[in-house]
Symmetry: C2
Subunit: 263 residues, 2 copies
DNA sequence: CGAAAGGTTGACAATGCTCAACAACTGTGG
DNA sequence: CCACAGTTGTTGAGCATTGTCAACCTTTCG
């Protein structure tokens, strides 16, 4: 946690047992990605998996643990761009690039599979081989980025946090865990950075939701007490798939008529 | 502009001359995507290319014109998710899905190439065939979504608009046009929706930038008078690729020490 | 046990939104 | 070609949400 960055990267690549014994095998985004036996990496809480600017040599699949990807801005601010959970791939955003475009850091003790990438071949040679496996993962990534965009553009603080909690809940549910009581692996500051709020606002909104009886928070332990109500809050500014396709709502130019506004 | 949605889609698919005569041929994201001769579509200002929920039958490459992709939210608000310019692909975000996940609407009179997609095969059969061509486009899309995410999460109104203008300028420059004087094809409201602000704020910030002498605005006509100064404003909260990787700045856990904050 | 990190809460300020009036431009029909 | 209506853009005043600064509490971990 206080180790110099290099330490994390040189972590002993002890060979872990392969997918057969992996708890994430079903539903793993890396399933069948490479045939050769994979190496593993272990990270302790706070250790970096890779740094921005490092040469891209591998893609990682999480076996156990949680990882955040993040960047820093010109004026020293930190921006979390993603949280990654067991079965997910880390490093996808850098796949076509020679060097990583973000940091990846373990939020807790974490074990990962290393999926080696032929240096430089990512965008070209690897494409045919990987694409059928990678496509779903890329698609997933794109869809999530897209959801983030609409969330950041037009949600209030409350809506953002409720949405975030429901995303977390869905993630836990997908992995067979309770979706109504779970532990957040990240700090308030990291949550805030991710959803575009300050840590104080995150804390306040959590308190407010708790007062209302919708959730229950103690430290990083969260209970969703009224999921239907939460869903309503979160889905207020969410995309409506088929909003009356026959009305002229779809046509542009007439958009000014509607009371369209942001936030 | 006031036509029923169906009209736009049934626009006469008059066969346009192929890539040889296309002004966008160099740098076109669709270059070499499909061998067969392509059909074309023409849209007039305000006409939809496709509607959310329509079955995905094609990908489109813009020959001339500008297209916006947008969605509507549960409470009736509109969210612009992308502006698309000549040489770019439209419909990528829906490529792996059976139905379009957004609207696409022409912002001005527009001509497009139709790249037919075997229904349902997008995610599977098409993958090997298309991937090598599609990869750059998907990568580009991912990178842009990512930039949007950081912009929406931590930029002020001024920073967002300057960034937007510079993006536009880069786009024009890449197509051989002046990057210091150009015409915005979209309304203030559409710009605002895209960058997460209200149209009033957009207007006000433009005025303020004009007062400062950094830009010059009349209607939709924009001149960038002091691009270096604009760059400084925009890059203030922008990702720094290699921020002193050796200092402890990269390590997490110590992040609390730095005055990291959002917005 | 004590220090450090993380979380909560309060007071205040400011950015950006809402409502509203008005001005400028576009396009259309007489 | 002009006048009008409709649309788009500008500007102002007030307000609300959220950020800032700061103090204090709680948990964790050495």
């Amino acid at each position: 946690m206080q180790l110099p960055p290099t330490k994390g990267r040189s972590a002993p690549p002890d060979a872990l047992p392969c997918c057969d014994s992996c708890p994430q095998a079903p539903g793993c985004h890396a399933a069948g990605l490479v045939q050769q036996p994979r190496r593993g990496v272990r990270l302790r809480k706070g250790q970096p998996l890779y740094l921005i600017g490092d040469p891209v040599t591998a893609l990682y699949a999480i076996r156990v643990g949680t990882v955040k990807t993040h960047v820093t801005t010109g004026d020293g601010r930190t921006q979390v761009v993603g949280f990654h959970f067991p079965g997910e791939l880390v490093g996808l955003d850098s796949l076509t690039r020679p060097r990583y475009v973000s940091y990846a850091t373990a939020l807790e003790d974490t074990k990962l599979c290393v999926i080696a990438i032929d240096p430089g071949s990512a965008a070209t040679a690897a494409a045919p081989a990987l694409s059928s496996q990678l496509f779903p993962a890329l698609d997933y990534q794109a869809r999530r980025a897209w959801a983030m965009q609409t969330m950041l553009a037009l949600m209030t603080a409350e809506e953002r946090l409720v949405t975030f909690l429901l995303w977390m809940a869905d993630g836990f549910a997908a992995r067979g865990f309770s979706s109504s009581a779970f532990i957040l692996r990240m700090s308030r500051e990291e949550i805030g950075s991710y959803v575009g709020l300050t840590l104080e606002t995150v804390s306040r909104q959590f308190s407010r939701l708790a007062e209302t009886g919708l959730i229950r928070v103690r430290h990083r332990c969260v209970e969703l007490l009224d999921k239907p109500a939460l869903r309503i809050i979160a889905e207020r500014p969410t995309i409506s798939a088929h909003t009356a396709p026959d009305t002229d709502a779809g046509t542009e130019g007439a958009a000014a008529g509607s009371a369209a506004s942001n936030r």
